[in-house]
């Protein structure tokens, strides 16, 4: 609705004094609108250069392309999953069995995959969230000014390490180191189902416990980076106000930075959760597979959606059994989509609020 006003403006701009004098009173609310860079174009609207038209088309086309692409991902996965879901002999959502070796008799359900995926991710999130909060506060508020950048770079380096390297490290190095601790937990806290003796050999380290810790390390950088960005935007005035009132460093953080950055921190954690849910190779390498079903212990083995698919991927030969895995992939896609969408909407709402 502002366009007509803007478009008319250049016509009178030759005599600014007169225009202002006449226009100021009736359009007081529109007066602050500066002449926008778009103005010269709108005045010459009928004539568009062909180069402009082509370039604009290309750019807009790319934008449309990405929107279509996401739709296509969902659509193709659904198309591929439906026939196999139809052939499924057992309930897809509530069954724990997964047997796709005989395409004529597909028996697959995702309950176990879902539970293992969720518990690995939640364990990772529980470990990573407080640490990431600490790092983000450290980098924005505590670290010496000239060292904050290099320190931040070091944390970002964690994101540069390929996930397969984390996986190998988790299985071959961290697993054995964690073994005595795991054993102690099982012996002393085994009466809690979460720490009960699991369905895989703890000594090998291929447990949800190990996987959760490694995934926590892997999602640290993303949570830290996003929280840091939000904490950095804390209004200087708030901080200075708190300092002027005699607050200690911690009180400054607690009364200004944390309330301001809370929404950002929550959404950063949601983004981290999205990453954790979809983490593939590290989990695939670490988790010992087992035929026993998940028993709510951190020392169980098993498979997440992603690791199950990755393990079976090299043997996708029959469309029907591949379809079973694609159905699992579809659930994972929906899960991460929802988590990410919530995270982004929190961030977006927060930005507009500012």
């Amino acid at each position: 609705m502002n366009d007509p006003v803007v478009a008319k403006r250049p016509a009178g701009s030759g005599d600014p004094g007169a225009v202002r004098g006449v226009a100021a009173a009736p359009t007081a609310s529109e007066a602050p609108i500066p002449p926008t860079p778009a103005a010269p174009e709108t005045t010459k609207a009928p004539h568009v250069r062909p180069g402009d038209r082509i370039f604009r088309g290309l750019a807009t086309g790319s934008g449309v392309f990405i929107v279509v692409l996401i739709g296509a991902i969902g659509l193709f996965l659904i198309l591929q999953a439906i026939p196999s879901l139809g052939l499924d002999q057992i309930n897809f959502l509530t069954s724990r069995e997964w047997n796709t070796t005989d395409p004529a008799n597909l028996r697959f359900g995702i309950l176990d995959l879902l539970l293992v995926t969720v518990i690995v991710s939640i364990l990772a999130l529980l470990i990573a969230m407080p640490i990431a909060l600490g790092i983000a506060l450290f980098l924005t508020q505590y670290a010496p000014r000239n060292l904050a950048r290099p320190f931040a770079y070091v944390v970002d380096l964690l994101a540069a390490v390929p996930s397969i390297v984390f996986g190998l490290w988790g299985l071959f190095v961290l697993g054995p180191v964690l073994f005595p601790f795991s054993e102690w937990l099982i012996e002393n806290l085994g009466w809690i189902p979460l720490f009960a003796k699991g369905n895989v050999n703890v000594q090998l380290g291929g447990t949800i416990f190990t996987a959760g810790i490694v995934v926590a390390v892997m999602i640290l950088p993303i949570i830290t980076a996003v929280s840091r960005e939000v904490f950095d935007r804390t209004p200087r005035m708030h901080i200075e106000g708190a300092i002027a009132l005699g607050a200690t460093k911690w009180e400054v953080v607690r009364t200004t930075v944390l309330p301001f950055g809370k929404a950002g921190y929550v959404s950063a954690s949601m983004l981290g959760l999205g990453r954790a849910l979809g983490e593939t190779i590290a989990v695939m390498i670490i988790l010992s597979t087992t035929s026993a079903s998940f028993g709510w212990s951190l020392f169980d083995g098993g498979a997440t959606f992603a690791s199950k698919i990755a393990l079976a991927a090299p043997e996708f030969n029959d469309t029907r059994s591949a379809g079973a895995y694609i159905a699992a992939g579809l659930v994972l896609f929906v899960l991460t989509f929802v988590v990410n969408a919530i995270a982004r909407s929190i961030v977006a709402g927060h930005k507009e609020y500012e």
């Binding site: 790319s62 934008g63 944390v155 190095v173 953080v253 983004l271 849910l277 090299p314």
Partner: protein, 304 residues
């Protein structure tokens, strides 16, 4: 002690609060310790992982053969050979992915910054780029599998891997390019329009060159990221211990795939190949990260 009245550090009246109470000091100290501790905890795994990789892999890559030979004809327990086939695969798959994603990513960013404004399509695009950032690599791989292999009937190939990597790289390129285009001052655009230069030429000749260093840095970082991706190569390419230059057919090795293959090889040869490939991959990624830093330093727009 100066008695000069102009001394700005001298207070007119002594401060009301001389000391911070003990409990507040304890809380403050406790919080400071925790925050420093959190940072140190994050450093431990990084140093530990790098130490593991270097300690186990470094002796392997000192051998010249590692960079020049493949594992063709070698048994699982036979030592020797190299990772040339896998290095080639990783670099070529990353390169092809880059050639496809960079133009698409930059055009999307241009659309968002220069054309989209606050339109519905621009909002949808931003949202979808965000969503694509969060799509797990295995889902991207499955998508390419259904389209490329099931529907189009093509076989597994390195090119399919590159397409899956495109899905992972485009959002990163869009994000960094968008950030860079946004900080190009509007005055530059306006000056160009004032000279009667069309909008597209303004973007190509003025806006992009100004933002170039940042864009290239982003591309390098994105490349470094996709080269370490394992899920797509696992789903979309079969492993070959020999050199395959053909992008469009046949199995092709890559460093992550080589690691997946050798991780269950219990012999000394397997150990060497596994950690040799790991350190090679980390080195390549580090190289691209360094390149990104160098580019951003060298090509940064002159401020004077």
């Amino acid at each position: 002690m100066s008695t000069n009245l102009a001394d700005p550090t001298r207070l007119a009246t002594p401060p009301t609060f001389q000391a911070v109470s003990l409990s507040r000091r304890i809380k403050n100290g406790f919080a400071t310790t925790l925050v420093w501790g959190a940072f140190l905890i994050a450093i431990i795994p990084l140093v530990w992982v790098l130490y593991t990789v270097i300690q186990r892999g470094f002796p392997v890559i000192l051998d010249g053969d590692w960079w020049q030979k493949s594992l063709s004809g070698l048994l699982a327990r036979q030592q020797g050979g190299g990772a040339y086939h896998a290095i080639y695969g990783t670099l070529v798959q990353g390169l092809v992915c880059g050639i496809i994603s960079v133009p698409i990513g930059i055009m999307i960013a241009i659309y968002l910054v220069e054309y989209g404004g606050r339109s519905k399509l621009a909002k949808a695009t931003t949202f979808m780029v965000d969503i694509l950032t969060g799509v797990p690599s295995i889902v991207a791989a499955l998508f390419v599998y259904t389209v490329w292999i099931t529907y189009a009937g093509m076989g597994r190939s390195a090119f399919a891997v590159s397409i899956a990597l495109v899905l992972l790289m485009v959002p990163v390129v869009v994000r960094t390019t968008e950030e860079m285009l946004k900080i190009v001052p509007d005055e530059l655009r306006e000056a160009s329009y004032a000279l009667g230069i069309p909008k597209w030429k303004t973007i190509v000749k003025i806006v992009i060159p100004t933002a170039l260093s940042g864009i290239l840095t982003g591309i390098m970082l994105a490349l470094a990221r996709v080269m370490g991706e394992t899920a797509p190569v696992l789903v979309l390419a079969a492993y070959a211990p020999f050199i395959n230059y053909n992008l469009f057919s046949g199995p092709m090795a890559s460093l992550p795939l080589m690691m997946v293959n050798e991780r269950n090889n219990p012999t000394q040869a397997g150990f060497e190949r596994l950690w040799g490939a790991a350190i090679t991959l980390v080195l390549i990624i580090t190289l691209f990260n360094l390149l990104a830093t160098v580019i951003s330093r060298v090509l940064a727009p002159k401020t004077k």
